[in-house]
Symmetry: C2
């Protein structure tokens, strides 16, 4: 049977759809690399824009802004979850949701790079632990430089037309997959919504080896 | 110091706000007595009507009906969670959400009775495992009788004006507490929303002994 290429073993994989403006995405970004490693699951990083998804569903803003009661609750919930996961003490962001188009575009350039996890964590910490904006080159430059990357080159590429188009396309793909919030995980066709489902999704991926 | 009444030790307690039409309340109703016992926590059963809460928030129906994408997802999610908790295989109910005013009124009469947990589980199974309506006396009578209670007397009392008023009042209290969905748990002033938070809420109650 020479000449027949051996099929590689299927590898367990989880798609991780996230947004830098989303506080529950923050929790998953901080946890996912460690948890995925523990389960032997590869992460397919899928940055996308939540705003157009919400607008397509008829919402002009985050449900945490539109529904006052839910917004109040989320503060209690985040405070407890940050304690539970050992993250920085939760402080209600002074701007919510923060625009994160630029870091999402940078993340798109990093989805197959070893720095993707560290980059995403630094952006999330800037937004949710240090309460700072994340959408300007001067906010991204020190983060990118810290990772040993050429800030100027990377940030310039992130703002090029092809990358802008890729982020729009990926957002449209999210909508087409039925995504209605973030974070969302996919293992094959199984959708898991919310940081609360990260562990179930990883277990599902590890057992199914999708 | 004779004459000074000894204060009883504070007992850990969890308020459990639930609705028979709510599928995530179903999951918590099936689990809560066993889990609460394990944590040494007393349950304060709080049946309430979700419809008026949704309407007060500007929604004419369940978000799982109003948001098609979320509704589709919930079916996948429920199927997995029913497997996880060892419940009957999930089948999408032919009517959703089902009206459960009568069983909620009966539950109000049982909140301090030993049969409350078993009653609630039977109503939930009728709705979500057997896909049957739950709002008529003829549907409630066999359940009540199975618990060894006088069906006729109990169902009649449940439909009396004072009980109707109590359910309305309890629903208004839910709204005033900032409840926006079901199930919701309270431990003191800490709110926990959703079946996903039952374990955290019980742990919080057990540790704080509120």
């Amino acid at each position: 049977m020479t000449g027949v290429a051996k099929q590689p073993e299927p590898t367990a994989e989880i798609e991780f759809w996230f947004e830098f403006g989303s506080n529950y995405s923050y929790l998953s970004v901080m946890r996912i690399e460690q948890e995925a490693r523990r389960h032997g699951v590869r992460i397919a990083w899928k940055p996308f824009l939540l705003g157009p998804i919400f607008r397509a569903l008829g919402m002009e803003n985050s449900p945490f802004v539109l529904q006052k009661e839910k917004g109040v609750y989320v503060q209690q919930d985040m405070a407890r979850l940050c304690r539970k996961y050992g993250l920085a003490p939760w402080v209600k962001p002074s701007v919510f949701p923060r625009l994160g188009v630029l870091p999402l575009r940078i993340a798109l350039l990093g989805v197959d790079q070893p720095w993707i996890g560290a980059f995403c964590r630094k952006v999330m910490e800037l937004n949710f632990a240090r309460d700072q904006d994340i959408n300007q080159p001067e906010q991204m430059a020190p983060i990118v430089a810290e990772l040993g990357l050429s800030a100027l080159g990377l940030i310039e590429r992130a703002q090029s037309e092809p990358v802008k188009t890729r982020l729009r396309d990926q957002t449209e793909q999210a909508r087409a997959k039925g995504i209605f919030g973030a974070p969302t995980f996919f293992v094959g066709t199984e959708m898991f919504w919310g940081n609360d489902r990260l562990d179930d999704a990883l277990l599902f991926a590890a057992e199914r080896k999708v």
